[in-house]
């Protein structure tokens, strides 16, 4: 292969670094009206009265929008395919506010200053309701967060709003209680994870204008332009054909831009007034009023026989979806479906629990959703079981983990929001990942720990799996057209949000068409111009959209060969990417062919469109190893190195694949160590700025060692599986295990801070 699996610079990196206008707000109409939201100071309240008379008198204020301006059409902001597996429980504006930061009303004015002045003049009277702030007490709480009759599920997801339950799920294989009762060694442990924030550096941003066909054109920093178009159409009752969504460059998403944020209000204002409008979230709004990761409580019971064979996993999960139910069920199911199959040889397994509403910032999609929470719980519990078994945790994993050609019944039972798809692991190089990782971190020398005076050095590890798109649901498509002068346009709906999918998809096309990257001009995404794609989520782009590009490129190859055979008057024509040659040795170049069919003879535009929907979701696998130095007297942890050994099939772009893993690891380390989410007693998010919510800096990350094992997934384009999410899963458990290996202290609540470690050391000393 000449392009795939070779060093290829990202197609947009240089231009962006040199400062070209690229992002949504760079492209806003300079005369845009500003849409600014008044946000609730209360965790739960009913709006009794809004007095905006004074605000409306301000010169420059165009309008004040309240719940009375919108018809009561509930929708979900989750940004999923249709029908969505999330409850329709959100109105553009409502008479109830359900968390601190929820939308009360919006002012629309000529500039930000006048909007802020207007917000200060508006008087809102609230009837305060008792908020539900403890998710363990949410079910059957006397406060009901969604009493409105319009809220509904699209198909059964266990939605019971009158009990504050957004979704429920239960599955089992075998009789878990019976198996556990027969085990020699059983542990039962409970783990907690926090509401991590995405902290993409570009805040949520949207702007809109009417075009000369009186259509609504929306520039949007989104991961899901097509879903966005559909949801806006449904929510505002605007014909789908009247809406065009353009996704420029996106400054990071990580799941946070899968959903709807300011889009409804901005679209409404422009459609109603005919004037350009825009909204740029403040960083505080990004923290308080977008989405978080779902916080969870997970009770894990593991049973094994004396020889260390894992027999049963019982996994109960309680998930907090906050005030609205975006991704309530899907995230919940992934806790099981992308974690439990790691140990596929158990006799019985059960996974069950509820997703509850609370009056906190809503939770939604976030890279590695469900998997990182479940991985922390299960991979911590496995190490705890090993302690009880007196067994080396690596040997335990080597004995019990998923191997190539094996399967798990869970694949068929659990999908995302629906039943799953049975599949055999055609590629699973976990054994090699573990072995290689042990060497790279020097496990045998460093495990479990080494005393170095004030500090103690230790290692810890965890294994993980993800998926590659959602089978039979996620669809990607690609259009390729040949231009005169012999270069191609590749149009994809796949959504590059910084992960480099434009580069990777262009590489796939270039490889099939035997050409170089400069001959492939890729464009994403514009609902008027590019073909449908579900968007950037569920680790689907390389695998699903990549397969669509692979098919389209092969179709284009066939189409140009037809033309070449015609021109060279031959049934047998060979093509090397540049030149067509028939059996007589007569040739025509692609450039000449393209010019001829464009200008000279039998003129036509060659253009092909292909689509792909997956029939399985081959999981990437990885082993993650952390080396840390802990100060025994202060609990402070230095991350010395993080070794990731990954099986993601062929790496289409090895450097960008490494970047996906590295970035995932550091976000995972953020959740594991630094990113503490704090609420006030009244339910307001205190960690609502980069001053109070601490993401890892480059000084906190000494080194990352990321390598890939040889692997070729037949069903993927050029053997590729996904790599976007797998990196984030292992750090919390690997760190927790390393802390235990150093000090014999088990931290079961994220983040694992120096303070928690030191206080646990002191508690241990006292006992």
């Amino acid at each position: 292969m000449k392009v795939v699996n070779n060093l290829t610079h990202s197609v947009d990196g240089l231009g962006i670094l040199k400062g070209r206008a690229a992002y949504t707000d760079d492209l806003a109409d300079k005369n845009s009206l500003i849409v600014k939201v008044l946000r609730s100071p209360h965790a739960y309240a009913k709006i009794v009265k809004i007095d905006s008379e004074e605000a409306l008198k301000l010169p420059g204020i165009e309008m004040v929008l309240t719940h009375k301006d919108f018809s009561r059409v509930p929708f979900t902001r989750a940004g999923q395919g249709y029908p969505e597996p999330s409850p329709h429980d959100k109105f553009v504006l409502d008479e109830y506010v359900r968390y601190v930061g929820d939308e009360v009303l919006a002012v629309v004015g000529s500039d930000l200053a006048v909007c802020e002045e207007a917000l200060a003049l508006i008087k809102v009277e609230y009837e305060l309701l008792e908020p539900v702030l403890d998710f363990e007490k949410a079910i059957d709480h006397k406060s009901i967060i969604h009493p409105e009759p319009e809220a509904h599920e699209m198909f059964p997801i266990g939605f019971e709003p009158l009990r504050n339950i957004a979704a429920s799920y239960h599955m089992h294989v075998g009789d878990v209680e019976k198996t556990l009762s027969e085990c020699d060694v059983v542990i039962e442990e409970t783990f907690f994870t926090q509401a991590q924030a995405h902290v993409m550096l570009e805040p949520h941003t949207v702007n809109a204008r009417m075009d000369y066909q009186e259509r609504l054109v929306i520039y949007n920093s989104t991961q899901t332009p097509y879903h966005m178009r559909r949801i806006i159409s449904q929510g505002l009752n605007i014909p789908l054909s009247k809406i065009r969504v353009i996704k420029p460059r996106v400054g990071g998403g990580f799941g946070g831009k899968q959903g709807i944020h300011g889009e409804m209000l901005v679209a409404y204002v422009t459609y109603k007034t005919g004037k350009a409008a825009k909204m740029v979230y403040t960083r505080k709004e990004v923290f308080e009023s977008s989405y978080t990761r779902h916080p969870m409580k997970m009770k894990v019971t593991l049973g094994a026989d004396k020889s260390g064979v894992l027999k049963a996993i019982d996994f109960h999960c309680l998930s907090d979806t906050g005030a609205y139910g975006e991704h309530a069920l899907t995230v919940f199911m992934v806790v099981g479906s992308k974690v439990l199959p790691l140990y596929n040889k158990v006799d019985s397994v059960r996974f069950y629990g509820d997703v509850v509403y609370t009056n906190h910032t809503p939770a939604g999609a976030y890279r590695g959703y469900g998997a990182i929470q479940g991985n922390f719980a299960l991979e911590s519990a496995v190490d705890m079981l090993c302690v009880k078994l007196g067994m080396n945790p690596i040997e335990f994993r080597q004995l019990n983990m998923m191997k190539e050609t094996e399967t798990s019944p869970i694949f068929e039972i659990m999908g995302e929001g629906t039943a799953g798809t049975a599949m055999i692991m055609e590629t699973c190089k976990l054994e090699e990942c573990v072995e290689k990782g042990m060497k790279l971190i020097d496990w045998n020398d460093k495990y479990p720990s080494k005393d170095m005076g004030n500090k103690i050095k230790s290692v810890g590890m965890a294994i993980a799996m993800q998926g590659s798109g959602i089978p039979y649901i996620d669809m990607g498509s690609a259009t390729i057209k040949l231009n005169d002068d012999g270069f191609y346009n590749l149009l994809v709906g796949a959504t590059d949000i910084g992960q480099g999918s434009d580069t990777v998809l262009a590489q796939i096309a270039a490889e099939v068409l035997m050409t170089t990257m400069d001959k492939i001009v890729i464009y994403s995404s514009d609902t008027d111009l590019t073909p449908f794609d579900c968007g950037a989520y569920a680790s689907s782009t390389t695998y699903v959209s990549g397969n669509a590009v692979f098919k389209a490129a092969n179709d284009m190859l066939e189409a140009i060969l037809v033309e070449a055979r015609r021109i060279l008057k031959s049934k047998e024509v060979e093509f090397d990417g540049v030149l067509f040659t028939n059996e007589l040795g007569e040739t025509i170049s692609l450039i000449d062919l393209s010019n001829e069919i464009t200008y000279s003879e039998d003129q036509k535009q060659l253009s092909v469109t292909s689509s792909y929907v997956g029939h399985k979701s081959p999981p990437p696998f990885m082993a993650g190893f952390i080396e840390i130095d802990i100060d025994k007297e202060t609990g402070e942890v230095d991350i010395v190195n993080y070794v990731s050994v990954v099986d993601c099939g062929t790496t289409i772009n090895p450097k960008l694949a490494e970047g996906q893993v590295d970035g995932g690891i550091v976000q995972g380390l953020g959740m594991a160590m630094f990113e503490n989410v704090q609420y006030s007693k009244k339910g307001a998010l205190i960690s609502n700025s980069l001053m109070t919510y601490k993401i890892p800096t480059r000084v906190d990350i000494n080194n990352l060692t990321t390598v890939f094992v040889d692997s070729y997934e037949e069903s993927g384009p050029f053997g590729a599986k996904s790599v976007g999410e797998i990196g984030i899963d292992t750090p919390p458990a690997a760190l927790a295990n390393a802390v235990y290996n150093a000090l014999g202290i088990r931290i079961k609540t994220l983040p694992i801070t120096a303070e928690k470690i030191l206080l646990a050391i002191k508690a241990k000393e006292r006992n």
């Binding site: 202060t634 960690s687 993401i695 906190d700 030191l758």
Partner: protein
């Protein structure tokens, strides 16, 4: 933030008069925290034109102009030598390079920020502040007295003593404010100790210093005792960065390590 007027003062007297004229008039230093600390201002008075951005040695002191940026201080060769460079260590641990190129020492001092990494270091050196009206005052006078708020800080004077120094900032990430910060120095055989971000503003540990400076010789036992005295004397509390208990443990550990370092103590 609203600002009605921005005025470049022609001299200190003008700046001083403008500052006294209205409660909503402010002196602007670097402006790094302006939008986070001032909602609306009538007049913002700039001292940019007054040449207060020099670092000079005069007599036995290093004088740092109030408008010297943190970036200027951390790259100054004289200050790098002072007490093993503890002021440089403290300054260079504050946020990123870009902010340190605008934030000034005067702004940091006048802000009296409780999380300040600079105060513990200034407290363990022989530091005085020079104000436009009230002249030269001790650092502790300034910290304990609100009457300087409506005066203008002109420069900071630090005795150019030969001494050993130790500074430690504990923070959750390298960009965060301190969970706690500790400075120790030893000059002519005498220890000076200070703890800050407790989460209150830095304070010298007088009783601990009295204790340790009366000893003819120190050992592990007396270092531990000294650290305990710090925790007895200084008020620690919990906030969203750390609990009281954790801060106390950190203070004990780093005071001990600081004493050992500045006295070249080896186990």
């Amino acid at each position: 933030m609203k600002v009605s007027e921005y005025i470049k003062a022609k001299d200190l007297n003008e700046a001083y008069e403008l500052l006294r004229e209205d409660r909503k008039n402010y002196i602007i230093a670097g402006g790094a925290w302006l939008k986070l600390s001032v909602k609306s201002a009538n007049k913002l008075v700039s001292l940019d034109a007054l040449g207060l951005d020099k670092i000079v040695v005069l007599g036995d002191s290093i004088e740092i102009g109030a408008l010297c940026t943190l970036g200027q201080i951390e790259t100054n060769e004289l200050i790098k030598q002072l007490y093993d460079g503890i002021l440089v260590q403290a300054v260079s641990s504050i946020m990123g390079v870009n902010i340190r190129n605008i934030a000034t020492i005067g702004g940091c001092v006048m802000g009296k920020f409780s999380f300040s990494d600079i105060f513990p270091v200034l407290e363990v050196m022989d530091t005085t502040l020079v104000f436009h009206k009230q002249g030269e005052v001790s650092l502790m006078d300034f910290l304990n007295n609100p009457k300087f708020e409506k005066d203008i800080l002109v420069k900071i004077k630090i005795k150019n003593n030969l001494g050993k120094g130790f500074f430690k900032k504990v923070a959750i990430t390298a960009l965060d404010f301190s969970v706690i910060n500790i400075a120790c120095s030893k000059t002519d055989g005498l220890f000076s100790l200070s703890v800050g971000s407790t989460p209150y503003i830095a304070s010298p540990c007088y009783k601990a210093m009295d204790y340790i400076n009366c000893l003819s010789d120190i050992n592990l036992e007396s270092i531990k005792e000294c650290a305990n005295k710090v925790v007895e004397e200084i008020k620690f509390s919990s906030n969203n960065r750390a609990s009281k208990e954790y801060r106390e443990e950190l203070a004990k550990v780093y005071i001990s390590r600081g004493i050992k370092q500045v006295s070249n103590y080896e186990n």
